[in-house]
Point group: C2
Amino acid sequence: MPRPSSHVDEKLLAAARELLPTTGCHKLSLRQVASHAGVNLGMFHYHFGNKEAFLETLISRTYDEILARLEHTSQPDASPLENLRTALNALGRWARDHRELLMRLAADAMAGEQVVVNGFVKNQPRIIGTMVPRMMAAQAAGQLPAIAVPQLIGFIAGSITMPFVVGTVMSKFDLVPAPLLEGLENAVFSDEAISQRIDMALAGLQSALPPAAITNQKPT
Amino acid sequence: MPRPSSHVDEKLLAAARELLPTTGCHKLSLRQVASHAGVNLGMFHYHFGNKEAFLETLISRTYDEILARLEHTSQPDASPLENLRTALNALGRWARDHRELLMRLAADAMAGEQVVVNGFVKNQPRIIGTMVPRMMAAQAAGQLPAIAVPQLIGFIAGSITMPFVVGTVMSKFDLVPAPLLEGLENAVFSDEAISQRIDMALAGLQSALPPAAITNQKPT
DNA sequence: GGGGGAATTATACAAGTGTATAATTATACG
DNA sequence: CGTATAATTATACACTTGTATAATTCCCCC
């Protein structure tokens, strides 16, 4: 090892990690990253081979980093529904805290960026996968209706996270008068607002008890 | 008018309109559009000046087109909540029918595409604007809680539309086994599934009656 | 029927991208 | 002390993008 590494690969990943929440994957230019890291462009080919491989490890690292901040609560003595409720609250606050990054990744995924989709599919078990058993437990306990899991996940995820999108877009593009902005923050991003949405979502689901006709099965 | 127009501008708009749901605005290349229209690239500069202006009229036209398919129901004799419910059902089915296009536009907007955001802001009154009065009427009638409007809109919009995103992404990227795919369609995209989500969302909101503490006002 | 001029084409340009490679640097080791 | 060699730089290439302009086509109208 005639010349010790100055860990340029790590510098590149760190620079890209900084840029990611504001640019997203698709608009992330390698020259921009290299310049932001104070390093030469050629290092991408040397250390990672191509952009796709670079993005792959970048996304993998990023998921590891933010998922480490997602606390996994478990209260064996609580009912399945209450277990789900606290888990959803932790997940909702976590999503709020990383909303810029997550929104960029979501935009990239919706735009068809294959690397981002793969990254989500690979890490989704650590996010959604922890919720599904709790949902199914609540269903088994008769605390949630026996509706199809995608319908269940979509309903809950949407009711919790869509206000984040609305609030973020509204404030980023100045679609709300300045004096109301702080009120918007409180009404959408606060712990209480998140908790309220989760309570409303779960109560809404319970309104569909007893089991509705919409299941995962094709109608006969 | 020495040489009559062969309406190349309309051909370009039509070609772009066809490509839009599969490519989105950002990935829409002018050469691709021109080639798809069987027309020369230079016509963009001649007829529209630049890409932004072209996208502007394209998006404006597109909104006009799909919004014409959005039926505006009004039943003066029904309660505010029932009025909102039927309006939401019409809106939900409309969103489902145009989900590819709307998801691309949403991805573009979330990615920061200014033209798309402007287009949404300009046309949002014809979509959300028709819902807000009904929501506020239901609030005034005590049928919905007095929570902040962004929270209300986000909650309802998310619970209705997020399952579309989940279902679309899952099927587009083959994340669900083929035999379950038809069941997914029924469970998420059917009229009944939409209606069920709306019922659950409204019931969930009603669970927050009497008025909760989360309002648009900054806490004192 | 041949100018005139708008509509359309062909083509070039500058800027940006990812990729690749030769040249240079800098250090551990003989 | 000098050399082998991994790490880094400088630079060029091929491609795509939007933009611009000169050249050509084609039809109305005098």
